[in-house]
């Protein structure tokens, strides 16, 4: 049997006190995007927090999350292999660009030269060759976003969570970055959950669309 690369949200509901924020039941196939749209304050980001495993205890949540057939709802966030991109790139400011990437490469890749090489290869791929030793704070907004994507991909995630990751970029860059992220997700057969308030994001993503709020 072929390996199941999909993600499944089984009757996930998230509430804040008496208020029901969202109820979702969906299957996301490998390489496809589920878009959750809603205005700011609608609680759409809590869905990603629940999948990623860092939902604030003020919220009550039910339902199960399956990634590659495994129920990950109750396990440590670091064991879920759910890579996430926020609207800020959140590059670790104390590490170099290369240090950020090396941080993400799984530790079972032991050979240091191999680790450095794979970091440099993905930098080339993102048109950031030569930036390995740079201070992330000195990169442009678009460059930071690409390093953040590279970092997440290097961690070999089993799924991708996108929390309005394009909203801070200017219009031209936004389209470019969007294409890049979706292309990589497709190529690596990653199921994606995208949370956004921008209809263009939803349009570009293509797949299922759920509106909340």
């Amino acid at each position: 049997m072929q390996q199941d690369l999909s993600m499944k949200l089984e009757q996930v509901t998230i509430r804040l006190g008496p208020r029901n924020l969202l109820s979702i039941d969906a299957q996301i196939e490998a390489g496809e995007v589920l878009t959750v749209m809603g205005p700011s304050g609608s609680g759409k980001s809590t869905l990603l927090a629940y999948i990623g495993g860092f939902l604030d205890p003020h919220f009550t949540a039910n339902g199960s999350v399956f990634i590659r057939g495994n129920n990950v709802t109750k396990i440590e966030p670091s064991q879920r292999h759910a890579g996430i991109l926020f609207q800020d790139p959140l590059l670790f400011p104390h590490l170099s660009v290369g240090g950020n990437l090396l941080f993400a490469i799984p530790s079972d890749v032991k050979d240091k030269a191999v680790r450095v090489q794979s970091a440099k290869t993905i930098l080339e791929e993102m048109e950031l060759g030569g930036c390995f030793d740079h201070d992330p704070a000195r990169l442009s907004g678009g460059q930071k976003a690409r390093v953040a994507l590279a970092r997440t991909l290097l961690s070999q995630p089993h799924a991708l969570l996108l929390d309005e990751p394009f909203s801070r970029l200017d219009a031209a860059l936004r389209a470019q970055m969007r294409d890049l992220v979706f292309a990589h997700a497709k190529r690596r057969m990653l199921p994606v959950v995208l949370v956004t308030h921008d209809p263009e994001d939803a349009h570009a993503a293509g797949g299922q669309l759920i509106e909340i709020g």
């Binding site: 109750k74 670790f92 104390h94 992330p136 704070a137 961690s155």
Partner: protein, 570 residues
């Protein structure tokens, strides 16, 4: 499929951290209180007191000058707290949000790190009849050729002492106020009140202050307890015939006649009662103040033209900071001065003679200061990190912990240190370094936790989510993301802990039983009549040592992250 892994060892250990902190702080305070309570009623078999009796209290109240000592303690506690609270409130009301405010707040940490004793000596060198102020204006304005015969400091009404306490308590309360002012959204309320036509001070007092005060209330009670029972500052600036109760108590505690320990314990219990009485008085005052304020607010009087008063308060804030720093500078100047006669404003020459004289005897106490302060600050910092890193903390444990951490600040030191001294010997911990480090931890932990927890919560949590999304374990996330990002606040918390330890007088004196003198106990011992150059050496050194920690907290991150622009902002 079971993906549950065993808990990571570091975090398994971290679960014990909150309980460990609670134990380290509460056990000494509680056992100390008990150890004071029993001898106060005559029970201390080791000294032949086998039966409960009221004898110690009868002897206590028969002591000469005891009633004046009691009144002094009440007066000092009340007056210093009222002065400090009102001043701190006025300063933040007048200054908050202005440009110079940001600069003034930068002076707070260094001023706070100056030990009480050093600040007190500095103040004494400024205000005494032969002090700096008198020298500046003499003989031109005063015709004084000799210093006037006035009893300052050590005046019988304790005014110098009250002022000296306020000098350190105002910055402490200000720091607490600044930590809370962001939470109550002060600037929006101030915009609102000024739009309604209220003056800066009245708008602040009517609307912002009630919310702010609630947040710093524990700190105010700590100031009240501290002022009413302070020993070291009192020995330097306080009245002497008779001194406040706490000073008398310590004298009895060190009396060769061991029977005086019973009287001292009874006195310590009396001290506790006085502080509780002051708390009750303060509670009534709070109600009264709130009532008057609300009555005023309801009249709608706006006090719109308060700009002159605001300027005066701002000026006063700068003067206070200047006073502390001038005091330290004077300590340094005296320590290197040759002949410096009244009314000269500057010594006739500079010399290192006093330092050379002090050097042989200063090395031991200096070493001891580090040997206690460094481990105490390190242990406290590590425990607080483990405690804060443990996300499984429950709300109830957190509440117990915050209450426990305020214990050593609210309970007067004399009330539990006397008993703790007995308990330390009984339990076999004794008088050594271990006992001193443990005792210092009781006072160091609350301040380190306070300093660190604020910074801990202000780090963007998404950095850690991001790391865990990259499959980093909790341990790796802590060690490689959280701790490096927080290097500066962590080192600052360490420096705060070290500064607290360096400044501790009574715990060091009592638990070390005088056998492990530190730079602070030695400096305070000089208060009774040593020459000013020696005092200058010890007190200047005492005020400089804590700076080492803060300098490290500033320099080390700057050097480590010199190529990381964003780390300057974090």
């Amino acid at each position: 499929m079971n993906l549950l892994r065993p808990p990571e060892p570091l975090f398994f250990a971290a679960r014990a951290a909150p309980l460990l902190i609670i134990a380290i702080v509460s056990l000494p305070v509680l056992s100390g209180l008990l150890g004071t309570l029993l001898p106060a009623f005559g029970y201390l078999p080791a000294l032949g007191g086998a039966e409960l009796s009221l004898g110690p209290f009868r002897r206590l109240f028969a002591e000469a000058g005891i009633s004046r000592s009691i009144w002094l303690s009440l007066w000092i506690g009340f007056a210093a707290t009222l002065l400090s609270t009102l001043s701190a409130g006025a300063i933040i009301a007048a200054g908050y949000g202005t440009k110079s405010w940001a600069i003034l707040t930068r002076f707070l940490s260094p001023i706070l790190s100056v030990p009480h004793a050093a600040a007190a000596f500095g103040l004494a060198f400024i205000i005494m009849p032969s002090g700096f102020i008198a020298r500046l204006i003499s003989p031109e304005l005063t015709d004084w050729i000799n210093p006037p015969d006035v009893l300052i400091p050590n005046d019988p009404y304790a005014l110098s002492l009250i002022f000296g306490l306020a000098l350190k308590e105002i910055p402490f309360l200000l720091l607490m106020l600044i930590a809370s002012v962001g939470q109550v959204d002060a600037s929006r309320y101030l915009n609102m009140t000024s739009a309604l036509g209220y003056g800066r001070l009245s708008g602040f007092s009517y609307i912002v202050w009630p919310q702010l005060y609630r947040q710093i209330r524990v700190a105010v009670f700590a100031v009240l307890a501290f002022s009413a029972s302070v020993v070291d500052v009192s020995l330097i600036l306080g009245p002497t015939t008779p001194p406040p109760l706490s000073v008398t108590l310590v004298r009895w505690m060190n009396d060769p006649d061991l029977m005086y320990r019973f009287v001292a314990s009874a006195g310590a219990l009396l001290q506790l009662t006085l502080v509780l009485f002051l708390f009750a008085v303060w509670l009534i005052l709070e109600r009264l103040g709130a009532y008057v304020r609300n009555q005023m607010a309801e009249t709608g009087r706006r006090f719109a033209s308060d700009s002159i008063l605001v300027s005066i308060i701002r000026l006063k804030a700068w003067l206070l900071a200047l006073l502390v720093l001038t005091g330290i500078a004077l300590l340094g100047l005296w320590s290197v001065s040759q002949l410096w006669q009244f009314p000269d404003a500057w010594p006739q020459g500079l010399t290192l003679a006093a330092w050379a004289r002090a050097l042989p005897s200063i090395g031991g106490p200096l070493w001891t200061t580090f040997l206690i302060g460094f481990p105490a600050a390190l242990i406290a910092t590590l425990l607080c990190i483990l405690c804060l890193a443990n996300i499984q903390k429950s709300a109830s444990i957190e509440r117990v912990m915050l209450t426990t951490l305020s214990l050593p600040l609210i309970v007067p030191q004399t009330a539990f240190l006397f008993g703790l001294q007995v308990a330390a010997i009984k339990s076999g911990i004794g008088y050594g370094y271990d006992a001193l480090i443990l005792t210092h931890l009781v006072f160091v932990l609350p301040y380190v936790f306070l300093s660190l927890s604020h910074a801990w919560e202000s780090l963007d949590p998404r950095y850690e989510w991001m790391a865990q999304g990259l499959s980093a374990s909790r341990t790796k996330t802590l060690l490689r993301v959280r701790l490096p990002l927080m290097l500066r606040p962590i080192l600052t918390a360490f420096a705060v802990g070290f500064a607290v330890s360096v400044g501790l007088y009574l715990p060091t004196l009592l638990i070390g039983a005088g056998r492990l003198p530190t730079i602070t106990t030695e400096a305070v011992a000089l208060a009774s009549g040593a020459n000013r150059r020696t005092i200058g050496v010890y007190a200047f050194l005492q005020s400089v040592i804590p700076f080492v920690g803060f300098a490290l907290a500033f320099a080390l991150p700057a050097w480590l992250f010199k190529n990381r622009a964003a780390m300057r902002a974090v």
